[in-house]
């Protein structure tokens, strides 16, 4: 990563903080939150509560991994919420119509990858800004979903389809997915040629091209990967409860993007890690739950959340200025 190699003269600790500063800030915030809220209301630290915070929001963290890759490559996707709604609906429809569960899991993920391959190709080869393509995609997916399903709920889902409700060794499977996918994605971004080329393309496209990277192919690849993660997130989203709503989950794209950028992914592209976005997704989930535990007036919840986001952002900016 460029941030790590930029200051060879500094101490190891300094370099570590320089490379993972935002991740450390977010991690410390999570720890601080658990300590403070746990002191005020020990029930916050019960294993059932921690389990439900992690399991209930794992799909957001997983979607944020793919989103982070897209943003690191210098793009954005505002249609991810609509895509997750569509994936959940396809998965549920397949499951109740008697297809084997693995088909109901895999086909929607392939569909998501195909849709995003199209989005990526449009972005890469026609140079239309990704926000325009995905704004359009948001409309198409949302309108299309409502036209076709009319919001009819899908129920009577087979038990073996509910992958998010399985609990190997007492821990919800969604948590395994979150940890595993974050680790794999982090290693992938750091140690594979393709992963490094994502940073290069996001940092400076022409320089990347000069270094022998094919930026167009990289961008298409990133969007397909993003489709993969969104697909997995959609399957977890679909299998969390006994019914699927067949609608677009409100504001999900904002939550996912917020998690990515608060986790330290620079919106300008080129820097950030997927570990940070997963931590930030967890932080948000913790804050949402903590505010209820702290008896903050329900009317003021959103204002406090906004204030905390702002504080995190400003703290990060202050830190960056000190490091560089």
């Amino acid at each position: 990563m460029t941030a790590l190699s930029a200051h060879p003269g500094r101490s190891a600790l300094h370099r570590f903080i320089g490379g993972y500063g935002q991740e450390i800030v977010v991690l410390l915030s999570i720890v601080a939150l658990f300590v403070v809220v746990g002191i005020i209301n020990p029930r916050f630290l019960s294993d059932t509560n921690i389990n439900s915070i992690f399991a209930g929001n794992a799909y957001i963290a997983i979607a944020a991994i793919g989103m982070s890759m897209v943003i690191i490559a210098g793009h954005i996707d505002v249609s991810v919420g609509a895509l997750i709604g569509v994936i959940a609906t396809i998965a549920g429809t397949l499951a109740v119509n008697g297809y084997p569960v693995w088909v109901a899991w895999v086909v929607p993920i392939l569909f998501a990858m195909a849709v995003n391959a199209g989005v990526g190709a449009l972005v890469a080869y026609t140079r239309i800004p990704s926000i325009v393509v995905t704004l359009g995609m948001l409309s198409i997916l949302k309108g299309g979903l409502i036209s076709i399903t009319a919001g009819e709920w899908i129920s009577d889902l087979p038990t073996e389809f509910m992958i998010a409700q399985m609990r190997p060794f007492g821990i919800p499977s969604a948590v395994y997915f979150m940890v595993l996918l974050t680790a794999v994605a982090a290693l992938f971004m750091r140690y594979t040629d393709f992963g490094r080329s994502i940073y290069a393309v996001g940092g400076n496209m022409e320089a990347a091209r000069a270094a022998g990277i094919n930026p167009e192919r990289t961008v298409v690849g990133v969007f397909i990967l993003h489709g993969l993660f969104a697909g997995i997130a959609g399957i977890l989203f679909a299998t969390q409860l006994q019914v699927i709503q067949s609608t677009v989950p409100p504001n999900l794209e904002l939550t996912v993007i917020t998690a990515s950028v608060i986790g330290g992914v620079s919106i300008l592209g080129g820097t950030g890690t997927v570990i940070g976005s997963t931590l930030a997704a967890i932080l948000f989930a913790c804050i949402g739950s903590a505010l209820i535990f702290l008896n903050v007036s329900a009317y003021w919840l959103r204002a406090v959340l906004g204030l905390l986001i702002l504080a995190t952002v400003l703290a990060d900016m202050a830190r960056r200025r000190r490091v560089t």
């Binding site: 359009g136 919106i267 952002v313 900016m317």
Partner: protein, 314 residues
């Protein structure tokens, strides 16, 4: 970049809009009537006002996601100042406008002073301002405004809706500022290359601060008109406004990377979207179908512009 190239997208968009108007008019005889068109103008005024300011923001290479929340916050403050604090309504209006403008200024301050990227800064204030609106109002509506107040949202001057005059005037002012003044040139320069603009002596931070403050003001103005049109305030007003506004602006050819865009393009983009929504509804297409069409038109129009540019060796 020559003026003709700058206007190329606008030309395509203009042709597209005319074609859309002709097709829609042939589909329904209710579409191309003065009454309907004026009414549509009324309905698009709030989005339009905000889109004018958003054009400046996006031309500098920034973005403002908090406009819908500023609208909601201003609406709530208007109600609270008038009903709960007992201020006279005109004073409440001025004060609410000032607060909305202040909210925009805060955005600008976070972006320029603390160097937070605009997307992140306004993502945070999107949540913060909406939260303030909900908290201050405790989710309760303020109703029962006096009759005269409804003039701003429902009244007419010379047969044309009041807010359409406001929008027209604001369009001219915005077009003049962006197209003909040093401030406008500075706006483009910042979007094209911020560092270069800084070195060439442009007071980048001051310009940006003005622009985000302006976006706050326009959102606040839209809030007053909106409250007057619907005769009530609610803390969820303007939710999702930012996406409608950004869609209009980028359809109008303003580059999301900054440095390129015109007010006339934004206006054409807004007209095209509003005409599609209205015309398709009148010719029997349902709302969910209309959303799909707008998505396709957005991608198609930008794609056409991009391909056209490339064929000309652009």
């Amino acid at each position: 970049m020559t003026a003709s190239r700058l206007l190329r997208h606008e030309t395509i968009l203009g042709v597209l809009t005319v074609i859309a108007l002709i097709v829609l008019a042939s589909l329904s005889d209710k579409f191309f009537t003065a009454e309907n068109l004026l009414n549509q103008g009324r309905l698009m005024s709030e989005v339009g006002l905000v889109a004018l300011a958003m054009t400046f923001v996006i031309v500098t290479g920034g973005i403002d996601l908090s406009v819908g929340s500023i609208l909601g916050l201003t609406a709530i403050l208007l109600g609270v100042f008038w009903k709960n604090l007992g201020l006279p309504l005109p004073a409440a209006m001025v004060l609410a406008l000032a607060c909305g403008t202040f909210a925009g200024w805060v955005n600008g301050l976070i972006i320029t002073r603390f160097r937070v990227p605009p997307l992140i800064a306004t993502l945070a204030t999107l949540a913060l301002y909406r939260g303030l609106a909900e908290g201050i109002s405790e989710a309760r509506s303020v109703r029962g405004y006096p009759e005269w107040f409804f003039f701003f949202g429902q009244g007419e001057v010379l047969g044309v809706p009041f807010q359409l005059w406001v929008l027209g005037l604001a369009t001219i002012v915005a077009a003049v500022i962006l197209g003909l003044t040093p401030f406008g040139r500075a706006t483009y320069a910042i979007g094209a290359n911020e560092t270069a603009a800084r070195f060439s002596g442009i007071r980048v931070d001051a310009v940006k601060l003005w622009i985000y403050t302006g976006a706050g003001f326009c959102s606040a103005l839209a809030a007053v008109i909106f409250v007057s049109r619907v005769t009530t305030t609610r803390s969820d007003m303007g939710t999702g406004l930012e996406l409608d506004v950004i869609t209009g602006v980028v359809l109008g050819g303003t580059s999301i990377f900054g440095g390129r865009g015109t007010i006339i393009g934004t206006v054409l983009g807004l007209i095209l979207i509003q005409a599609l929504k209205n015309g398709l509804a009148l010719s029997g297409v349902k709302g969910d179908g209309t959303i799909v069409v707008i998505g396709l038109v957005l991608i198609g129009a930008i794609l056409a512009g991009a391909l056209f540019d490339r064929n000309r060796g652009g």
